[in-house]
Structures are given as structure tokens and as C-alpha cells.
């Protein structure tokens, strides 16, 4: 099972490789990827050296080109595919059918992975992407239970990659318009969710803080309460007279205890979320998952997650708490 780690910057790429990633995924410095944040991502020169660093150590680099271009910007995504191919990346991760089609016709030798943003949740949808665009791998949206992941792997349509750890999108990726509804900036079109330029913090007289997104109140925090980033899905709202995290609380996905089942199911790669996270996160999370995967390979019988691994991962989790999320029925 390959460990696929996030690299939002050249130092993060080196850190991920040094701490045990089998592959890193990166994005260009534009809206062609779903983490188009200021100060993040790779110039062409950055990527060239990053690829050289990874390849010299027998590791892979994937480029995420997983946003959806509008017609007038389609050429920019074509150019990005060309650039990735010319640089010699090991795979591109795409969601848009037009982009996948372009890549399959112009760079048939370049492996195409279906992004989580492509929202393929059934073997029929996976067959579509395989037959139409010859995808070599698909990343599943974070909506399926472990049993559903296992059944999908049994169908053997394409090799499957799943999310193992990181911030949890509560909605089906690629089909969430909450950010777009509030700010006009969407993950699908602009590669951003609830972008910072729309965020406004206000402090009340008693030290109470309110956070707004494009003037819409997302949450209020007491002075001693930890305050998270105001993505729409993680705010507190009033439903039926009760105020609570009506969609999802700030928490991270952690599938560590499912590792043996994911391996037995034939999942080929585990993805760590977090290109927007710093090097401390990348090093610690990569090292922890490397250790867990290696121990499973060496001593599969009676494998148990080490409590130290779980503590380490929780430290880096949103709100310092983790969940099995959709893999576990009780979460639904």
C-alpha cells in the first residue's frame, strides 16, 4: 500500500519524502488545483527540483489538476497538463472530464488518477472514467463505509486510493456549493473553500469573538473556546431552536484502526490530506503512517494501532479530535 502525502511547498515535499512518503502530491501556483491558497504550491522550477529529489530516492510525484475549468479558461488547464507531462511527473490527478479527455489523447503515456473531486462512488461511475479516459487509479470520495469500500475494491474496476487522515470534507467532494453560495468562490471552479479574504473576525466587549464569511455569521466563540476556521460546514447554527454544529464539528478523519481492513481489501494507496498544512504536520503525520504501514507489512497478525501513533495524529487533527467518519456507520 502506497502512502501518498501532501506537499504545499518545496520544503514540505522534501519533508514528506524524507519521512517515508511513497508519493507526494502537489499543485501549480494557480487555480488548476483544489488548494489554490496564497503562498502555497509550486512554480515550474520548484516542481522540476522536487521531481528530481523524489525520483533520486525512488519516490513519485503527482500533480493535482483537479478543479473544473470554465470554457474560457480551458486552455490554462490544457497547458497545465502539458507542463506536468513535460516535467515528467508520475501522474496527474484530475476531476474534469474535458481535462481527462485532453490528457488521454495528448499524453496517453501519462498516468491519470481520478481526483476525489470527480465524485465516483460506484463501480458504474468508475467504469465510466476507465472506459472514457483510461484512468489508472481513482480516489474515492469520503462518503463510503468501510464495507462499501471493500465491495468496490472487489469489483476491481480500477485500483483504489482512499483518504486515510486529515481534515474531513463532510460533503461529497466535487459536489459542494456551500462556499460558492456564500462567497461566490467555489472549490470546483476556483480551488478554494471559504477563502480568507471573505473572513471577518469581530471581538465583543466580553472577549466573545464572532466570525463572519462574506458578512454571514458562521459562529461565535466564548473567550476560552477554541475557534476554528470558518468553513460553512463547520459553523454552529440554529436548527429547531438548538444551536450546534448542525453539519459537522471541527474534526479530522483518522482511519488508522482500519488499516488492516483497507490493506486486505486491496486499496493500493492511502492519501493524507493537507497541502495547506505546515512542515510539522507533514513530517509527523507521514512518519506515523509510515510506521503503521511498515509494521502491518512486517507483522500483520494481531496488528493494533499504537496509542502513541494515535496521540501523535490527534495532535495534528482539527480541533484535536479525530473520527472514523463515513467509514463507520454510526457517524452517518
Amino acid at each position: 500500500m502506497h502512502l501518498v502525502c501532501p506537499a504545499g511547498s518545496p520544503p514540505a515535499l522534501v519533508t514528506a519524502i524524507d519521512h517515508g512518503a511513497d508519493a507526494v502530491y502537489v499543485g501549480f501556483r494557480d487555480q488548476t488545483n483544489a488548494r489554490a491558497f496564497p503562498g502555497l504550491n509550486f512554480t515550474e522550477a520548484d516542481l522540476r527540483s522536487g521531481i528530481a529529489y523524489a525520483h533520486a530516492r525512488g519516490k513519485q510525484v503527482y500533480v493535482a489538476l483537479n478543479t473544473y475549468p470554465g470554457p474560457s479558461r480551458f486552455g490554462d488547464w490544457q497547458a497545465a497538463v502539458d507542463r506536468a507531462a513535460a516535467l515528467g511527473v508520475d501522474a496527474i490527478i484530475c476531476a474534469d472530464m474535458g481535462v481527462l479527455d485532453y490528457a488521454s489523447r495528448h499524453h496517453p503515456g501519462l498516468a491519470r488518477h481520478l481526483s476525489v473531486q470527480g465524485s465516483a462512488t460506484t463501480h458504474a461511475a468508475l467504469r465510466y472514467y476507465r472506459e472514457r479516459f483510461g484512468i489508472a487509479r481513482a480516489v474515492l470520495p469520503r462518503v463510503l463505509s468501510i464495507q462499501q469500500v471493500e465491495r468496490l475494491c472487489e469489483q476491481d474496476v480500477v485500483p483504489i486510493e482512499v483518504f486515510a487522515f486529515g481534515s474531513l470534507c463532510i460533503m461529497v467532494e466535487g459536489r459542494c456549493q456551500l462556499s460558492s453560495y456564500v462567497t461566490g468562490a467555489s472549490p470546483n471552479r476556483h480551488g478554494v473553500c471559504s477563502p480568507a479574504k471573505f473572513v471577518r473576525w469581530e471581538e465583543g466587549p466580553g472577549g466573545q469573538r464572532s466570525v463572519r464569511l462574506n458578512d454571514r455569521l458562521i459562529d461565535r466563540f466564548e473567550p476560552d473556546e477554541p475557534a476554528g476556521y470558518p468553513t460553512v460546514c463547520k459553523g454552529r447554527y440554529d436548527v429547531g431552536g438548538e444551536v450546534f454544529h448542525a453539519l459537522e464539528e471541527p474534526t479530522s478523519l483518522n482511519t488508522l484502526e482500519l488499516l488492516p481492513r483497507l490493506a486486505a481489501a486491496g486499496v493500493v494507496a492511502l492519501k493524507i490530506e493537507g497541502r495547506q498544512r505546515g512542515q510539522a504536520y507533514v513530517s509527523s503525520v507521514t512518519r506515523t503512517w509510515r510506521a503503521a504501514i511498515d509494521r502491518l507489512a512486517a507483522r500483520p497478525d494481531g496488528w493494533q494501532p499504537d496509542p502513541q501513533w494515535q496521540r501523535e495524529l490527534s495532535r495534528h487533527a482539527e480541533g484535536h479530535q479525530t473520527t472514523l467518519g463515513p467509514y463507520h456507520r454510526s457517524w452517518h
Binding site: Y102, V172, Y181, R216, I218
Partner: protein
């Protein structure tokens, strides 16, 4: 421009659904879309019932389209989808690529639903090769993308856009209605049935914000492109979609029908139209106000 009734997004008792569609056959609609698009656990009408209802409505001479689920997770849901696709008479609105795949395998023409991701002319061209002959634009699309579709020079299918209703914004594995009622999804008691217009969600300062509808999240306000009908028509939109709501759907249909019939745009009734103008969906853009004073 033709007027269509989008699929019922809420969970109503069987008798209410049947009564609603009996009444709808008396409204000035060109196309009726129906079927369960949100949650497969909603079985007041099972797939075979939706198919029977669709065929019954089609007997009245109207175009009827059967809509597929937006999010499929279980094998049983694929089996229902197969029954829908093989209904033998009505076209299907494909709301995810599982549906597109089953339809193209059978060589059937279909309508692309609003939850398919069609952001550019190339994706649209590929789907047209698959058998798509009408596209219901995704909720975040507006005027600009239609102009760009046209500018691409590729032949376009019929285009449809929602002109009235609470827009579907997202889907999840989690049921937000069950969560709000502190129930497990697997033991939800089908409580969506108590909320014929969904469950309102407000921000902490009391502003209506979203609507919880099972695994779907919708807008709280109604998208209203009534005053924009002239622009829609100029942009080449062939069909205008109205989403059913618990009360007043007949009046809304009548209002839009009369506007299309007379060419006189109706006054604004809804709260939102931002997506049409390329801004945040929750916003209301009044074109008259936004133009420069003379």
C-alpha cells in the same frame, strides 16, 4: 421557453405525492420531472411506484422524465437505478455518472441533471457523445458560462435552468435531519416526512441561511429568475425549471407561465439570484439598481 417542474426534493406521504402530481397535470407545464433524487431510504414511493406514476403522467401527453439519485453508495441503489434506466418509456435525468454509464451502455438518450459536473464545452461534448440531449445547468452556473458555451462554437444540447425554488447545494453520506433530531441515520424513523419543506437552519443571529433536507443541504431562500426571464431567453435557455414546495407551487407555475406567455417579466418574489450574475448564490442582484444613474 418551456416550463418544467423539477423533481420533488422533499419526503412527503404517498397520498400527498400522488395528489400533488394529479394536480400538476392540470398546470401549464411542458415537462414534469419526478423521482427520488435525495435519499434511497425514502420509500413512500418505491422505484417501481415512481416509474408507474411517470408512465401514468406520460399518458396525459406530457413529457415526463424520471430522475436518478444524486449520490449512490450501495449496490441496492444501483439496482434501483437499473430499473429506472430500463423503464422502457420515459427519459431519465442522470444525476451522477453511474446513471450516465448505465444509459450509455444501453444507447439511451438522456437529460443531464444539475448535480453532474459540467463546467465546460469539452465535458458537455463528451456527454453529448454519451447520449445527453438536454442539460440542466448546475446551480452555480449563470449567464457567463452559457455565453462561453456558445462562444466555443460546438453544437449545444437544449439548456434548462432552475428559475424558482430552494437550490440543492451539497450532498453528504451523513443525514443532517437525523443529526438535528439526534437520531442515527440507520434508525432515522424517516423523520424527513415531518418537514415537507425541509428543516430550516439559521445563523446564530437568527438569519435564515440554509435548509436541511436529509443528506442534502439547500438554500433557505428561493432562487427567483422571474425578472430575468428575458435575459434567459436571450441566452438561449430553452426550459425554465420550478422546484416543488409544500405550498403555492400552482401559483408559482401560473406566474411563470403567464410571464412566458405575455413576455412581461413578473415582479420579484424570491430572495436570491446571485448565481445567474456570477456572484455568491445567496445574493440578490437587482440589475436596475446596479446600472449607473443617467
Amino acid at each position: 421557453m418551456r416550463l418544467t417542474l423539477g423533481p420533488l426534493q422533499y419526503f412527503w406521504p404517498r397520498e400527498r405525492v400522488l395528489a400533488f402530481y394529479r394536480e400538476a397535470t392540470t398546470w401549464p407545464l411542458d415537462v414534469i420531472y419526478l423521482g427520488e433524487t435525495v435519499c434511497s431510504k425514502r420509500r413512500e414511493l418505491a422505484t417501481r411506484d415512481w416509474i408507474a406514476l411517470a408512465h401514468e403522467l406520460a399518458d396525459t401527453g406530457r413529457e415526463v422524465v424520471l430522475c436518478s439519485l444524486a449520490l449512490l453508495e450501495a449496490e441496492s441503489e444501483l439496482a434501483s437505478l437499473r430499473r429506472l434506466v430500463d423503464n422502457g418509456r420515459c427519459r431519465v435525468e442522470a444525476n451522477d455518472l453511474s446513471a450516465v454509464q448505465l444509459l450509455r451502455e444501453r444507447g439511451l438518450r438522456f437529460v443531464g441533471g444539475p448535480s453532474l459536473n459540467v463546467y465546460n464545452h469539452q465535458a458537455l461534448r463528451l456527454l453529448c457523445e454519451d447520449g445527453l440531449d438536454r442539460l440542466v445547468l448546475g446551480v452555480e452556473h449563470g449567464q457567463a458560462v452559457i455565453e462561453e458555451f456558445r462562444a466555443s462554437g460546438l453544437p449545444l444540447p437544449e439548456l434548462e435552468i432552475p428559475v424558482w425554488g430552494r437550490l440543492p447545494l451539497s450532498y453528504s453520506a451523513r443525514c443532517f435531519t437525523a443529526r438535528a433530531l439526534d437520531l442515527a441515520k440507520d434508525d432515522c424513523g424517516f423523520r424527513c416526512i415531518d418537514y415537507p419543506d425541509g428543516l430550516p437552519l439559521a445563523s446564530r443571529d437568527g438569519q435564515p441561511f440554509l435548509t436541511v433536507n436529509g443528506i442534502q443541504v439547500q438554500t433557505a431562500g428561493h432562487c427567483d429568475l422571474g425578472p430575468e426571464l428575458g435575459e434567459l431567453s436571450a441566452a438561449g435557455i430553452a426550459l425554465a425549471r420550478i422546484y416543488p414546495q409544500a405550498e403555492g407551487t400552482a401559483e408559482i407555475v401560473a406566474r411563470f407561465h403567464s410571464a412566458i406567455d405575455t413576455g412581461i417579466a413578473p415582479a420579484r418574489h424570491g430572495e436570491e439570484n446571485g448565481y445567474w450574475y456570477g456572484t455568491a448564490g445567496m445574493e440578490l442582484v437587482e440589475p436596475a439598481q446596479s446600472s449607473m444613474p443617467r
